[in-house]
Chain length 254, copies 6
Amino acid sequence: MAQIKDLLNNNTVIRPDGRAVDELRPVKITRNFTDAPEGSVLIECGNTRVMCTATFVPGVPHWRKDTGLGWVTAEYAMLPRATSDRTPRESIKGKVGGRTQEISRLIGRCLRGVVDTKALDENQVLLDCDVLQADGGTRTASVTGAYVALVDALRWAEKNKRIRSAEKVLKDQISAVSVGIIDGTPMLDLPYIEDSQAMTDMNVAMTGSGGFIEIQGTAEHRPFTREELNVLLELAEKGNKELQHAQNEALAQS
Amino acid sequence: MAQIKDLLNNNTVIRPDGRAVDELRPVKITRNFTDAPEGSVLIECGNTRVMCTATFVPGVPHWRKDTGLGWVTAEYAMLPRATSDRTPRESIKGKVGGRTQEISRLIGRCLRGVVDTKALDENQVLLDCDVLQADGGTRTASVTGAYVALVDALRWAEKNKRIRSAEKVLKDQISAVSVGIIDGTPMLDLPYIEDSQAMTDMNVAMTGSGGFIEIQGTAEHRPFTREELNVLLELAEKGNKELQHAQNEALAQS
Amino acid sequence: MAQIKDLLNNNTVIRPDGRAVDELRPVKITRNFTDAPEGSVLIECGNTRVMCTATFVPGVPHWRKDTGLGWVTAEYAMLPRATSDRTPRESIKGKVGGRTQEISRLIGRCLRGVVDTKALDENQVLLDCDVLQADGGTRTASVTGAYVALVDALRWAEKNKRIRSAEKVLKDQISAVSVGIIDGTPMLDLPYIEDSQAMTDMNVAMTGSGGFIEIQGTAEHRPFTREELNVLLELAEKGNKELQHAQNEALAQS
Amino acid sequence: MAQIKDLLNNNTVIRPDGRAVDELRPVKITRNFTDAPEGSVLIECGNTRVMCTATFVPGVPHWRKDTGLGWVTAEYAMLPRATSDRTPRESIKGKVGGRTQEISRLIGRCLRGVVDTKALDENQVLLDCDVLQADGGTRTASVTGAYVALVDALRWAEKNKRIRSAEKVLKDQISAVSVGIIDGTPMLDLPYIEDSQAMTDMNVAMTGSGGFIEIQGTAEHRPFTREELNVLLELAEKGNKELQHAQNEALAQS
Amino acid sequence: MAQIKDLLNNNTVIRPDGRAVDELRPVKITRNFTDAPEGSVLIECGNTRVMCTATFVPGVPHWRKDTGLGWVTAEYAMLPRATSDRTPRESIKGKVGGRTQEISRLIGRCLRGVVDTKALDENQVLLDCDVLQADGGTRTASVTGAYVALVDALRWAEKNKRIRSAEKVLKDQISAVSVGIIDGTPMLDLPYIEDSQAMTDMNVAMTGSGGFIEIQGTAEHRPFTREELNVLLELAEKGNKELQHAQNEALAQS
Amino acid sequence: MAQIKDLLNNNTVIRPDGRAVDELRPVKITRNFTDAPEGSVLIECGNTRVMCTATFVPGVPHWRKDTGLGWVTAEYAMLPRATSDRTPRESIKGKVGGRTQEISRLIGRCLRGVVDTKALDENQVLLDCDVLQADGGTRTASVTGAYVALVDALRWAEKNKRIRSAEKVLKDQISAVSVGIIDGTPMLDLPYIEDSQAMTDMNVAMTGSGGFIEIQGTAEHRPFTREELNVLLELAEKGNKELQHAQNEALAQS
């Protein structure tokens, strides 16, 4: 493990924004960002800004009817000028792209990973994650923000007698963060400039109790080793702990 | 004209939000709302909030090539939970609805109405109006906000030598406001609760010099008279003047 | 109002087809144009020819069920060679364009404006307006022709005991006409050649009792003034009266 | 062959419209039905009415460029109330149905069967066949009407120096007719009421010189024999000869 | 008929694969090609290989409910590299092409032609014909293979008490084969190289008892005569008899 | 590491097919499965059967032009009856589902991970993975089979002078395998019955030199621990080594 420490204590690396290799970007979570949704959260991770809303809907999709189980699902999208170049709207193209679907499915799986669908009863929570500004890590910010919106929607549902207990539906807490290897150095929470240079890019979703819900690591440019993987997971663990602290602080406010 | 005065001085009408019949909702225009776009504006008209971005693109669509003329166009959309009930995404339905297209076209026409496409040269400005929260008047707020984003994008283009002069491209200023008749009383700037009860609903886009660019009046419930039309236009004139004042104040800030 | 008279009495203007500025093109309304529909009308306004059929359908769309109210809606389309250049079919493009949807919605609103949906009971009338030949004013001809087809379909429904009384469903009569400003002169009923040069283009739908159901005015090239608007509305009023006379004559034939 | 004669001389059969088994419905071909297209024909076969327009377009689709060969293609569609029950628009469904595509392809093949694409040079003729009223045999009426529209478009092209000679492009004449077996009796030119009862339904396109371009026979209800096939072909031959006579008469008018 | 014999006894013609003009390519029918479907057949006709599966589904489409009749339908598709050049997937293009639909409809009609839908009761059999390798005649191979898959699915249904008797559902046997005229010579069972040169191309589906279910003949390059048609039908009859023999042999194996 | 050994040496677990927890299903790789593609492979992993074809295309997509770099991409699909219940075709639904896109993207990334796109020059290899029969692990079988098809296509390209050296394009070898935790026990290579019960499911793509290209682990039912992750990676390493052995054996045959 000496090697891991070395990699993490790499003081010679200077990141474009001056952060240490194991340092998160500033996180800001604003609840009740808009009025209509049962949960409405603006999450900012550095320059990445995602609006996460949670909609509580009585009933479940037809394929889940009469199972006694609820459902949680998510839809992710980017506003056209979230990005430096304008991204054409998928509504106008008439189809949802592969990247969008992949991320929507990831967010849904992550949140279902901490939900007791039995305690939710035959109700559904839809999470909409719309990226207002994109600077890397939009999918992980979406997971982290959507969790807070989900909690608010469940609290609303409990208060409005739609479910018995928000607490029982939530088996655990969840957040996600990106890690990657840049020029051979593992780093935490990559902004766009780093992400685009990464040899390996990994998204890690973890529960409050330290379990893994989702690991997605890709090496288009250079395969990564078991040793590197271990360092990346260390970084992800540190990042997720801090994100969960930020979630809890936001949720503690009335 | 005595009758018009009477209608406007109707002191017995109490609007749900306590406004006078000829009073706008509070307007707030935030420039540079996000970093990437050449123009990025958040406009708030009461609880209606629209993010308007302007993208400057060199070149024009193929059907306009070699004309020496530029082009300005707009796309309008609602985030799913801008509304009280969740509106399904048009990207997922695979097609853009009639209402969305109608509004996108309206915004484009309004802004082209004050642009000298010759001075713009063969360049294009795309305006994206995304409704974060909808409480009536989203299309008129979009026109009003998009104008400010357009000015910022043209200033950017001038500064970056893409066009000679932003001022020359802008022939005039433009804003839009809704007016309507509720229970027989003409009113200015309808929030959702009033809009849904209106016998007649009209959107009026006007230039800074007082000309009309677009009038769209519809009476699904009861036809309106020439007299009523005149009162509605008076109200729209008043409202647009105030909105243009707000635009100018926002644009005066550096 | 002197100025309005001046504008209307403009004798120096020569229109391409020799008409006076306040003169309609010849109108011809043929009922029972085809056999299958409950109402089938061919309307010809100059060279513009639109086939308007009305389909009476028991029942209403699901979102209107159990309201006790009927529904009237419209679909507009152009045959490929209605126009000088061939317009590709929207069926083959796989989506309905913005212009088509905008016009379909306009026609539907206009006809609903004169229908008592309660008297229609939970029945639906679908109006199909297919342009066989386009020479300007296709949307207004569609409204004018669709009204006649609607009357025939309601008479059919009364005769076949589907509704109690066609007369009670029809609260009023409706027609629509285009007006515009060309080279500074307001004119009635623009053919394509004038329409494409118009500084301002306005479509006005009016009831038999002289109320407005829809006003859509657009100034892409030069804003219009309140004074000009008044002249345009005078022209529209004259035009609609004459169109309603033509509708009544057609409907008087057995 | 005695048996064939017997079948044809079946005098006991009474068709719903009083025709003999080998008798065509009245045919009427109106040229210049609308003004814009290079060829515009209304063909009426009994109550079936199809508007066939021919559009001459310089150039060919990209996959045929630089071959020195032209192209002829067709699109078939039904107006919603051509039929007794309203058929939903394919533009609104967002896709073209199998039947529509099948018929469009058939019409295209038939007309290409009599066109010398080399003499057409790299030009294209698009045939649009829109059914205004459907009473059986719409695809065969489309072929027969489209031929006349094609001739007019080629004559226009010759006159306007787009091609050298219309005559050289047209290798032959073409028409099509339906035949079928009803209650065991072969019959010519089936209206809807007969078509829907037919055990076997066959569409036969033939040239002026008596060759076959297309035979499409289907027996969903009962297989047909070689003998029956022979009778059907006799009937088709007779029908096509008469249709070609009608085409020639129409084309002879100036 | 002497002439027909002459054409068939044409010994001077050498086909690219050395076959006689009236000789089928080698046929191989493999049942139980995959495990999941109720019927799963791989049919090989020369180099053409089609996987035909039959799915037995209780219930019928909504438009056929409560008729007491079953339904049989088919879907045809090509894998991208069934062909020499890669054919883009229709799923990615977002629409099913005309050729695909035409063939799917043909296969469905052919199989319905030998099915007693009353004996099938309100059940459905879906036939999927996926071309693994295409070398001409994929649609006729699909019909021939789908018949065997259908029989297996019906036997399964009988064994599993979903229908009373497979035998009663099957009124007859069906197969299909292509014939064509190449350089003036009629030939049986065209591989791609011949098919692409054919002046006339015809697909003929016949029952075990010798009746015709479907004849589709097309002459894009040169019209065909009645005499030629007769020879083509002779060839088709011979080919279908041999294909039906192969079907029966395959079905005889347990 | 004692714990890992324990988990792996779990002798009490009996898998439905009698395999040990760290045992692959029988693998069979058939090259030249069809004739047309540059690479055509049938891979069978137990009952899972995937047809993988590789198409060599000169040139690259427009967004990659003039970079001097090639491109490798993949499309995955299931035949309708690959599964126990019939899966509707995505071509007919008119859109490609999220799962399909996710898997297609995964396969593409994995293969690009071992390709030197510079050595490929501006050429493209398209990999089509069509599942004939699905019994779990279809995406990992696709990666493993597609690698063999890719090698064949590159060898073809070298032989046909389209690229200089297949060997130089291939930086490494790649295979993929699934692992998962069932009832607390980590296992290698899950068939459908196990996959559907897995608490955690992970797909791991590795190079011949032992590096990771892709790790995708998901825990919908119970989070997994770092310890469990380590065991899963051990299993994946073992499985991938064996799969690569099978790839090499298949590729060694001429």
